[in-house]
């Protein structure tokens, strides 16, 4: 059953189209990822689901209510981590968690959340004295402290170190296990691959692809990566010209060829006709990274890469 329904969402600011047309359904208990290049409309989409932004057209429904119009119902069941939001500078971590917990009917133990996020020894520190990563972890704790039905996490672990990242992942999974539906925006493929049940790839204000992480990789036009060390020089242009080859990269002495399944044999064929032995050949399934890049390839040339 869908707890979040987005239908024909469109948001423009003057002449700028932030979101062109987006339809999404997020099932209850899902961890749903939103991926896409900068400026694709991810944050606007999340803010519309949070009810902070009024859609120019289309509808958003969270558990049957319009989050923009019914603020009382929306704020009591949606926990939000915003990309750009702060707290009072002289509020301590502990006070912030207690204050936010007091807003909700059945809150989690804020200090325990802080502990799990590695903020235990910072409980009496002022918000302004926290590092950026610590502020970000506190924001995640505050988004989850009310045990919301839906948690919207924008830029979940951007800028966190690998250990903190793993703590956040565990916490997000624990929140889901307790029934919270999670929508997260991320740029980190390993994060999305590990956490998300499904991913919407948003590009230029539209859903470019929507599938499970494995489904996205499989549907990619270049699902296979070959890598090998050629024992003689290879004409890269001839490799690139083969049908089904998406990309050829030189990594030190190794070559990487991103291609579809049929092209793998064509590559090997070409190499043997050129008397080149592909040493230490590895053929692996391409990653979500590759799938992402091939799906948004068009816009990557126009905009800063995500």
């Amino acid at each position: 059953m869908a707890i979040i329904e987005v239908r024909g969402l469109r948001k423009t600011y003057g002449d700028v189209v932030a979101v062109d047309h987006i339809d999404l359904d997020v099932g209850e208990g899902e961890i749903f990822g939103i991926l896409g290049p900068n400026g694709a409309g991810k944050t606007t989409t999340v803010e519309s689901i949070a009810g902070l932004t009024r859609p120019t057209a289309g509808t958003v429904s969270v558990a049957g209510i319009d989050p923009y119009l019914d603020r009382v119902a929306a704020t009591s069941m949606i926990g939000v981590q915003l990309q750009q939001a702060g707290l009072q500078g002289k509020l301590t971590v502990k006070e912030a968690l207690e204050l936010f917990a007091s807003f909700y009917d059945d809150p989690a133990d804020g200090l325990e959340l802080a502990e799990q996020l590695g903020l235990g020894d910072k409980r009496d520190a002022y918000y302004s004295a926290l590092s950026g990563g610590q502020q970000q972890r506190l924001a995640i704790a505050l988004a989850l402290v009310g045990r919301p039905r839906v948690a919207l996490l924008d830029e979940l672990t951007t800028g966190l170190d690998p250990a903190s990242r793993r703590n956040v992942w565990k916490l997000v999974e624990a929140a889901r296990d307790q029934g919270t539906t999670i929508v997260l925006v991320s740029h980190l493929m390993p994060e999305v691959q590990r956490l998300c049940d499904r991913i919407a790839l948003i590009d230029r204000g539209r859903v470019a692809a929507l599938d499970t992480p494995a489904g996205l990789v499989a549907s990619s036009s270049a699902p296979t990566v070959m890598s090998f060390t050629p024992d003689a020089p290879v004409d890269l242009e001839r490799l690139r010209a083969l049908e089904g080859v998406a990309e050829v990269r030189q990594r030190a002495e190794r070559l990487e060829v991103v291609a579809d399944d049929a092209a793998v044999l064509a590559v090997l064929d070409l190499l043997s006709r050129s008397d080149v032995r592909p040493e230490k050949l590895r053929v692996t399934q391409s990653t979500l990274d590759e799938a992402y890049l091939s799906l948004v390839a068009g816009s990557e040339n126009e905009e800063a890469p995500a």
Partner: protein, 251 residues
């Protein structure tokens, strides 16, 4: 499910109160500085003598309402707008807009706390004046307090308007300081309104703080202040309040 421990508006007010106590600078200028200035003036012997040009009043009598208004000005255009602008700039208002507490809970808490600080400053001035310099408590207490409340409301709306119209904390501080000087002048910190000559006095009495200073002086002597002064204060409060509400940017 357990019930909520408190209403969000109260929880925010309690938290803002704690934070307020962590700003010793603001607390000093609003609650301590005006009484200290008042005491310093009271220590000047000539200011404790009845003066003929003041109709037999003493300078120190005139300065009781002025010191109280000074506290209101400090709170309204120096302390509060800085906090509100910082909350907007650091996206605190935006953060609270996503919770069951609302951005306006923060704004209301700031108004209430600054009004409370002004009340403390007022009480200190009145008590010190009574005990140390034999300044009589206001003769007409009800109109005195009415004017004070109106003066505080108009000063706070001026502060609200400053933070509404300025784009950054820096701009707020700059505009606040300029307005601060103007309000100090009109409230009579340098020359009590009663001593301002002719047309200047009339102009100053049609400003919010000038009207409040003049009216509080009348009430201190036991009279109902001129209706004109009350209307001036009401008009400013309503007008500025409407502008501040209209132009306040939440983000």
């Amino acid at each position: 499910m357990t019930a909520k421990t408190s209403n969000p508006a109260w929880a925010v007010l309690r938290t803002e109160f704690r934070l307020f106590l962590r700003e010793p600078g603001a607390l000093f200028w609003v609650m301590a500085f005006p009484p200290i200035l008042f005491v310093i003036l009271g220590l000047i012997p000539a200011f404790r003598e009845p003066a003929q040009e003041l109709g037999g009043a003493r300078v120190i009598d005139l300065y009781a309402p002025i010191a109280i208004l000074l506290s209101a000005i400090m709170a309204s255009v120096q302390a509060m707008p800085t906090v509100l602008s910082a909350y907007r700039e650091q996206r605190v208002l935006r953060r609270y807009a996503t919770t069951p507490a609302k951005s306006w809970h923060l704004l209301t808490a700031q108004f209430v706390l600054h009004a409370g600080a002004i009340a403390v400053g007022t009480a200190l001035v009145l008590v010190i004046g009574r005990l140390a310099f034999d300044v009589k408590l206001p003769g007409a207490l009800v109109p005195y307090l009415l004017l004070l409340v109106l003066a505080v409301c108009s000063a706070l709306t001026i502060g609200g308007l400053i933070s509404a119209l300025s784009r950054s904390s820096k701009a707020t501080a700059a505009v606040g300081s300029a307005v601060f000087i103007a309000l100090m002048f009109t409230s009579g910190v340098w020359f009590p309104v009663q001593t301002m000559p002719g047309i200047m006095g009339t102009i100053v009495e049609s400003t919010p703080l000038g009207a409040a200073a003049r009216g509080m002086d009348q009430a201190a002597l036991g009279d109902w202040p001129d209706l004109r002064l009350i209307l001036v204060l009401l008009a400013w409060t309503v007008g500025l309040g409407a502008l501040a509400t209209r132009y306040f940017k939440w983000q």
